[in-house]
Homo-oligomer: 357 residues x 4
Amino acid sequence: MKRIGILTGGGDAPGLNAVIRAAVKTADHQGREMVGIMDGYDGIIDGRWRVLTAEDIRGILSRGGTILGAANRGNPFGRKVMRDGQEVIVDMSDAFMAGFEQMRLDALIAVGGDGTLRIALELCQKGLPVVGVPKTIDNDLGGTDVTFGFDTALHTATEAIDKLHTTAEAHHRVMVVELMGRDAGFIALHSGVAGGADVILIPEIPFDLNVVCRAVEERAQRGRRFSIIACSEGARPVGGAQMLARAGDQITAERLGGMGQRVADWVGRNCGMEARCTVLGHVQRGGVPSPFDRWLATRYGAGAVRAVAADHFGCMVALHGTRLVDVPLTEALAVPKRVDPEGEPVQMARELGIVFG
Amino acid sequence: MKRIGILTGGGDAPGLNAVIRAAVKTADHQGREMVGIMDGYDGIIDGRWRVLTAEDIRGILSRGGTILGAANRGNPFGRKVMRDGQEVIVDMSDAFMAGFEQMRLDALIAVGGDGTLRIALELCQKGLPVVGVPKTIDNDLGGTDVTFGFDTALHTATEAIDKLHTTAEAHHRVMVVELMGRDAGFIALHSGVAGGADVILIPEIPFDLNVVCRAVEERAQRGRRFSIIACSEGARPVGGAQMLARAGDQITAERLGGMGQRVADWVGRNCGMEARCTVLGHVQRGGVPSPFDRWLATRYGAGAVRAVAADHFGCMVALHGTRLVDVPLTEALAVPKRVDPEGEPVQMARELGIVFG
Amino acid sequence: MKRIGILTGGGDAPGLNAVIRAAVKTADHQGREMVGIMDGYDGIIDGRWRVLTAEDIRGILSRGGTILGAANRGNPFGRKVMRDGQEVIVDMSDAFMAGFEQMRLDALIAVGGDGTLRIALELCQKGLPVVGVPKTIDNDLGGTDVTFGFDTALHTATEAIDKLHTTAEAHHRVMVVELMGRDAGFIALHSGVAGGADVILIPEIPFDLNVVCRAVEERAQRGRRFSIIACSEGARPVGGAQMLARAGDQITAERLGGMGQRVADWVGRNCGMEARCTVLGHVQRGGVPSPFDRWLATRYGAGAVRAVAADHFGCMVALHGTRLVDVPLTEALAVPKRVDPEGEPVQMARELGIVFG
Amino acid sequence: MKRIGILTGGGDAPGLNAVIRAAVKTADHQGREMVGIMDGYDGIIDGRWRVLTAEDIRGILSRGGTILGAANRGNPFGRKVMRDGQEVIVDMSDAFMAGFEQMRLDALIAVGGDGTLRIALELCQKGLPVVGVPKTIDNDLGGTDVTFGFDTALHTATEAIDKLHTTAEAHHRVMVVELMGRDAGFIALHSGVAGGADVILIPEIPFDLNVVCRAVEERAQRGRRFSIIACSEGARPVGGAQMLARAGDQITAERLGGMGQRVADWVGRNCGMEARCTVLGHVQRGGVPSPFDRWLATRYGAGAVRAVAADHFGCMVALHGTRLVDVPLTEALAVPKRVDPEGEPVQMARELGIVFG
């Protein structure tokens, strides 16, 4: 076997370049050629790829982003496009297979999250030799203890909470920080605990705003006239988002900004304290990857090439404890990972006095 | 003279604790006592103050916030309060003067921004011996080259822009980062230049959204399918904020979120590229002060005590070049500092290709 | 059970305060009292301890060091002291037991490394109710996947390597960075891989300086006229440290400085390139703990109190994958953890082109 | 005028790439071509240069190092080389002038420190059109308030001191950090004050080790059983370096390691406290430039091109207060900048309780 393709798909995550670099170096050590495919699966259809050299990967270990790009138009086997004002599903399988043929690859390494890995699994089921590398900021992928990107996102989130602490305390403010996590609240949970937040709102535990308010007020009564609220973008109040709208509002929830801002507005109006919101957004996806993420991403990239060499197709590299293992993609994708509302970490956080609403 | 009071007022700024620490140590060296007043001028009225000891200032040099608190209810000589649903102005001068009397201070050091220093000037004019120390995140105070806090805020802002760069590039996004600055755009200008932003929107230069869109599109045509926009919270479009509202909207500008989000919405709808917004908010006011800010704040704290010793009342310590000087408060407060739209830095930025809308 | 003691021993590690804070909060939640013992086991003998309150732990989550101090004079059951110019072993068991008695503790939580935990085990074997919390910068403790402190140390080490990269490249220099690790090379291995070092020297793999030199020279021939060497303080050349001394030198190795400096000297003299050395030293033990370390330390502190509540004495809290578990101290202390010269990470690093000498 | 050369010389400093980038962009705006010369003046002699394009400067704003390299063999007009075991001075002026001729430059921008700028001045005096840009980590250049690189170095140094604080305090240690500065102690002075060092040793103030020891001991007596010593590499004890050697030593000072290690050894032997040394070395020259340094370096790069356009040859761009100015190279090089032992900053530091030995 001589030629391996590699692509990165889905949202950005610090460590993607470290995966690519390690894969290229390891392949080179094994006498294989690594082909870089641009913008995920799109690059196969569009014929945008090139052999990656030592020069291409120079200096990228510590850089965020991905030299391969990751902006793609969706699943090649069922892509939603607009035609004459109507959304239609287009099957690009033929173009995809023709492109794959043309690249003369002996194997493909697909680095990505749930979406990218599901397509990888579909390709495997069609007989293509694919190995997956898990990537998610949100830590919402099964089959592995953790993936790269999450640790760096925690740094950004925790640093923000650290900074809000002093100013909240000096000015008697309620500070809300809205963090990534549509369906999984790991970033808010971990950075909230690490940053000493007083309230943590996550998608897995619907919150009651009155409980949040009471927590803020009880702190004020104990002389702690400030509170920090870590809020996942996907956190949801009990009873639905509507309850956050002001009475008589015709404005849809989306219009009123993200969940963090709405919580801040509500607390500001109801708890008698000024509240401010920080929306970190994509800042969490960028930056220099942390040592942990570089170490893990490097192991993943090297491990994926070793998996290819061992014909472990249909698998994904994963971390179990300190060991690197291959797990079947079917297994990894079976159940998305979520914060367990009854698990030890949430229980611990509650015992520390953190309120989950 | 034996007893000096010190207070901190207005918004938080990294370096406040360094000023307090240096003032206490310098006073101690001169055989003076330093009295810490809580929550700005309020502490004088409410009698909340205590003599600061070596123990009080231990370890605070590198901490954000202020050990004295800064949450106050406004000008004691004309405080706006709500009575029976009506805003009335209350004059607390008598209570203030009585409190001041009781503290038996020989001088007062007031650390703060425009508001705090104007009250300091008023006190001086009433005959009280006050020395000012300038503090502003926004760098909008005259009379000094720069104050502490601004440099640390630039770190936070520039680091955010750095992080957005890689993810914007990998995903072909327009990234807007909303930065502090209601009236002065120094944070957006400096961090935008330092972070390599493509567009900088500041209060001093009203922007035309079509110009912004064109800049974004021209970059895309040159193969740079992403753009970074640094936007002051106080930036304003030509023609006023209304033009950002969607047609037919009854929603006031305030409802639609901050200026950053609205610029992102507009660009996303009109430039055919996905746009995302990060709102840093109070994160910019917090954090470990930078070495520059600690150095400057320490010099200010020591310099204020020296100014007291020299009977330089009615003055504010200031930095001119590398020299620490005392400038009259009247002079410092005469004209607020703003970005000069025709000045060398803006001119330079334009020649670098940065668009100001 | 009502009263638990907690002490921290051995070298500093970021996260100690987070352990203490979580233990105090969790104990409070359970209606227990937490007693802080100063300077490790010494505080028991000397009677230096106090009940820890909410005030004591305020703001310490993100601070390095330990509010309990950790400077102790060694094992109370066999302490080496100098008497009349002679080293004698003194048994302080009686004083220790008397002190322990006086504190009226129902359990003791001992946070520390190999030394501290061995004493904890000895105490358990004497019938005292002790729970251990593992702490090591070096990651050299068995029984757990990892402990807190290591991740923060990696940040400091990797950041230093990052910084050396650009200057090494611009000036064609060989940069040696000496890192902690007397017996275990985890810091050098992980930060070397994460930082893109070209050579990694660790205690577990004796190095041949000629191999190091050849690696540096081969890079230069390929146009990479700089190299980065990550060197554990405990790295040893094949044949012993003597071979590094200049011919005819009577100077002992210790005199010539640490291993990093000696490698730099040797490379500078023998490879025809200028070499410089950075000795990070205790900087690696300090600083704001990383989110990972705060999260883990918090879980450890809470977990230790839960272990006390469950009468799991003689155990140590540990991380297995993502789960917090209790492992017997005997098991944890049975074999010190070392880098496996034949393991996957070293193998991977070699395939990436990293030379281990 | 159409063609400008740019070179970087001397030691590395964060911000060099920002100067290059701004110069290329500004030249492009003016319709000029920018030629990048490799490895300082050597590139002119060796014919190693190329026209810099937008592609060359992409993404370099935030990177340390210099894309032009800076490793050179010294002054082309009087270069020291070894011939037959003897050092001889070689005049390369003819080769230099021929190279310069061949490049068909209309002007040259030389970015560097004292050495590089002196050669620039010599070139001007020979009639070549040269503009200088000051660069020094040490802040030892006259004619300007400050140059880029110094602020970033302060970050690295201050962060190290911050990290040493907690571990020094927890373990009752004396921590010495050796910082850059052969002849000028600005890094040690500024980072020492910003980091809260107890003792600062700089080249401009010879120190008495007994005074240092007394300061350490007095702190211990006041219950502060730790001390932080910031020590310039060029600090010198009263009476010369010999006094640091152990009695009877035949070992030259150089052999015993840098000044920081020797101070730590001495304090450890004489003050009855354990002392440890961190040698930051070239880590201070690397890393992501701070926002301040990027802002200043960008202004310098743009300002140098404007100076070329205005025929201001023989000048150096400089910062006076907040204004960018051109100063004659003769003036800037007349007197090297040093810490004034009697100046306000040192005086202030003494009043804060800092001991200068």
